[in-house]
């Protein structure tokens, strides 16, 4: 029996000829990641366990992104703890305010992750890097501590669901509409413990920003990882960017999949996930009577340049609806600068939106856009759980940047017409 793409990467990193679903392996890691919320717990565990040093200072990334620029004194103390650990162990990929970005937008952009990598991160959206053909999965802080010390992690080899994509997305849809459609189809535990492997002719029509968004939300279907094949789009993206030479792995022709799901991209419509689970999906056009108080365009899911471009194309020369607060958060400093250079920033302000420095902020109800009781937000973020963006009686609707920006102009959930 052949192996899936994920299984091939895992086998190579475990030093094995082949692996099968369910097998427990120890694999060598190319990168161990943490942020300002998960790293302090990992540092405490690392010290408690009495490790002398890290396995490789160049293969650990610590990104301060959840609560920076620091939202309060306690957050500042946590950032300080991360900073001191990074300094003590000479961590080369340490990103503080001024250099930082939202981790899952920043690390691909900076070429810290590459094709064929085996990566763990103490952040559930670490599955994002499957977009560049890596095996990458979220873990907790103790796994991060062990990974930093040993450069190894244990895994149960996952089985996989194959998504055979065909056609091309309509103009008013993006990768977000595809992943929300899939989560609506299979449910929030539809891929529990499994890989989501995206293949088919439709793949080549998806940009890297779309692929990053799609893999980012694999965890929202319970998946261990999401992964795209390495093709021309990947190679072009990694060229001149990746700091390490990547390795191209391909699924075997006779690989075993638990399920194969075919999706014609041209048939998709703008989709919104209604409260309080990402699987509660409905076409945007059916939700026109839902009035909104806030719009958030940003996050590790949709804070990339194409997302900013979608917001710009919708908002330029127009005004956001009265009574709607629009918060736009470019995910990295490079994207932030590009928004200024291209005139997006000015257009956003003219439209009545605000622009924040990169932060996870409102996505997880940290700061920078918290909702009051009874308020409603349409957001390009990834979770709409109870209380996720603020009060337990507030509501979050998940959508693409096109849909979020179109809704900002009307004050109601609106299907974008591009």
């Amino acid at each position: 029996m052949g192996m899936t793409m994920t299984q091939k990467i895992l086998a190579a990193h475990a030093g094995l000829e082949s692996v099968t679903a369910g097998q427990l392996i120890n694999a060598k890691l190319d990168l161990v990641l943490g942020n300002d919320i998960t790293t302090p717990v990992a540092v405490n565990e690392f010290k408690k366990a009495g490790f002398d040093g890290v396995f490789d200072k160049d293969h650990i990334a610590i990104v301060l992104d959840h609560f920076v620029p620091n939202k309060d004194i306690k957050a500042a103390e946590q950032s300080k703890q991360c900073r001191e650990f990074a300094c003590e162990h000479c961590i080369s990929h340490f990103y503080d305010v001024g250099k930082m970005g939202i981790e899952h937008a920043l690390l691909p952009e900076q070429g810290v992750v590459t094709a064929g990598d085996c990566i763990i991160g103490a952040d559930s959206h670490t599955c994002t890097y499957g977009a560049v053909g890596a095996f990458s999965t979220g873990v907790g802080s103790t796994d991060m501590a062990a990974g930093m010390a040993t450069g190894m992690a244990w895994f149960k080899v996952p089985s996989a669901i194959k998504f055979e994509l065909s056609g091309k997305l309509p103009k008013n849809c993006s990768g977000k509409d595809l992943i929300l459609t899939i989560i609506g189809m299979i449910g929030v535990d539809g891929a529990l413990y499994k890989s989501m492997e995206f293949t088919g002719e439709g793949v080549k029509t998806l940009s890297m920003d779309d692929r990053l968004c799609i893999c980012n939300m694999a965890i929202e279907a319970g998946a261990k990882n999401g992964i795209f094949p390495v093709d021309e789009v990947t190679e072009k993206y990694l060229e001149g960017r990746a700091e390490r030479k990547g390795r191209k792995f391909e699924a075997d022709k006779d690989a075993d999949y638990e399920q194969v799901i075919g999706i014609d991209l041209s048939k998709l419509v703008p989709i919104v996930s209604c409260p309080h689970l990402p699987e509660n999906t409905k076409p945007a056009k059916e939700l026109g009577n839902i009035k909104i108080d806030q719009v958030v365009i940003g996050s590790c899911t949709n804070g990339r340049l194409e997302d900013m471009e979608a917001a710009y194309n919708t908002l330029k020369g127009k005004k956001v609806a009265d009574g709607v607060r629009v918060i736009i958060i470019p995910a990295t400093m490079q994207i932030y600068k590009e928004c200024i250079r291209r005139g997006y920033a000015e257009a956003f302000v003219d439209a009545g939106a605000v622009i924040s420095t990169p932060t996870c902020g409102p996505c997880l109800g940290g700061y920078m856009g918290i909702l009051a009781k009874g308020e409603r937000c349409i957001a390009t973020t990834n979770r709409n759980f109870v209380g996720r963006m603020g009060h337990v009686e507030s509501e979050v609707y998940l959508a693409s940047p096109y849909t979020a920006a179109a809704s900002a102009l009307t004050g109601y959930i609106t299907e974008p017409s591009l």
């Binding site: 609560f67 670490t126 535990d189 529990l192």
Partner: protein
């Protein structure tokens, strides 16, 4: 090893944002975090829970964020065991890594009700609902994972 206590019952898809809301994650102090456990889904949980009590839930318990703070606040509130129909994978891993006992048993999770007195034997995987006089058998852990649990968590298991 055993646990016995009264049951707190929860539905499917209990996410880590309701187990410990992110607005409190500006600290990694377990005692401080534990004061807010479950507050968005079960107000007053921390006042009602007693050492050894048992959480019983539906499918996909602990979905969402990778925050280890989630199993940590449950453990710090001295919950004896979490029984669920299934666990989200990162929560499952984190619970094992930090030594919070968890058991997957769909039948027990279906039939046990809130307030029941339940005992769990971790060596045999036998779950007893003393109130109802019912007995269930949880799926055993693979040896590899049992070894991590026996040694007291991942970091302890790495020590030679």
């Amino acid at each position: 090893m055993n646990a016995q206590g009264k049951v707190f019952k929860y539905p499917d898809n209990v996410d880590t944002d309701v187990i410990i809301p992110a607005r409190y994650l500006n600290t990694s102090n377990a005692e401080e975090l534990a004061l807010h456990a479950m507050e968005d889904i079960d107000t007053g949980f921390v006042k009602k829970v007693e050492a050894g009590d048992i959480m019983v839930a539906g499918y996909n318990f602990g979905c969402g964020s990778s925050r280890e703070h989630a199993p940590l606040v449950i453990k710090t509130n001295k919950v004896g065991c979490v029984i669920a129909k299934s666990f989200a994978r990162i929560f499952y891993r984190n619970a094992i890594n930090i030594g919070l006992p968890i058991l997957e048993c769909p039948e027990a999770a279906e039939k046990i009700d809130a307030g029941d007195e339940v005992s769990v034997n971790f060596d045999t995987g036998v779950i007893k609902d003393i109130t109802k006089g019912l007995e269930f058998k949880a799926q055993p852990f693979p040896d590899f994972i049992q070894n991590i649990i026996n040694k007291g968590g991942l970091l302890a298991s790495l020590k030679k």
